[in-house]
């Protein structure tokens, strides 16, 4: 390490303060779990019925599949 490098290291140490008390004040994982529960997607029965209807439609009219794909 030359004199210039040592100068950079010295400058960095002056600018960046050493970490004090690196431990978390509280456990964040339960909060994360709460957030995940809160944002879980709830699919109402009506949407399931629509999805079922779509599957039924594709089974009854398989020739419609290219036409449907054409619009996606």
């Amino acid at each position: 390490m030359n004199e210039r490098d040592e100068q950079i290291v010295r400058l960095l140490r002056n600018v960046i303060r050493p970490m004090e008390d690196a431990e978390l004040a509280r456990d964040l994982w339960p909060r994360m779990l709460d957030k995940m529960k809160g944002t879980a997607i709830r699919v109402p029965w009506f949407d399931w019925a629509l999805a079922g209807l779509l599957v039924l439609l594709l089974c009854l009219f398989p020739a419609a599949i290219p036409g449907i794909l054409y619009h996606l």
């Binding site: 779509l54 439609l57 009854l60 419609a64 036409g67 794909l69 996606l72």
Partner: protein, 136 residues
């Protein structure tokens, strides 16, 4: 995240159809070149390739633009897009006289697309809007 809301709405709108384009290309490619379906599909591929993703983006901008108290739910807003896209797609196909679709099939296609659009807009586009800071 408040800058360029319409650009973000456009980007959120085009994600799903752009990603799905690979599936469509693969499907039509297999039909045309593996099963030798005698329809020059490449002539009408401009519709799913260019028009559909762009109109999805514009439709999402429109959704953001209608920022009033009584805004239509995003699923219904997405399903309404079928009334714009389907006639264009149908005219494009008919203009080139490649495909004559029987009437019951038209109804099945129309209904199927409406259901897909409703579900995709309600879950996928709404999720992307939320991710990009656009209120759903």
């Amino acid at each position: 995240m408040t800058a360029h809301p319409y650009l973000r709405a456009y980007m959120a709108g085009i994600v799903v159809p752009t990603m799905f384009l690979l599936v469509i290309f693969a499907f039509f490619w297999v039909m045309r070149f593996v099963y030798n379906v005698p329809i020059p599909i490449e002539h009408v591929l401009v519709f799913p390739m260019a028009l559909v993703p762009n109109l999805w983006g514009v439709w999402n901008i429109l959704y953001l633009r209608m920022h009033t108290g009584r805004r239509l739910p995003i699923g219904l807003h997405g399903a309404m897009l079928v009334f714009v896209l389907s006639p264009i797609g149908y005219l494009l196909v008919r203009a080139q006289q490649y495909l004559i679709v029987p009437s019951p099939l038209i109804l099945a296609i129309f209904g199927g697309i409406m259901v897909i659009y409703y579900l995709v807009w309600k879950y996928a586009v709404a999720f992307l809007n939320d991710l990009l800071g656009i209120s759903s």
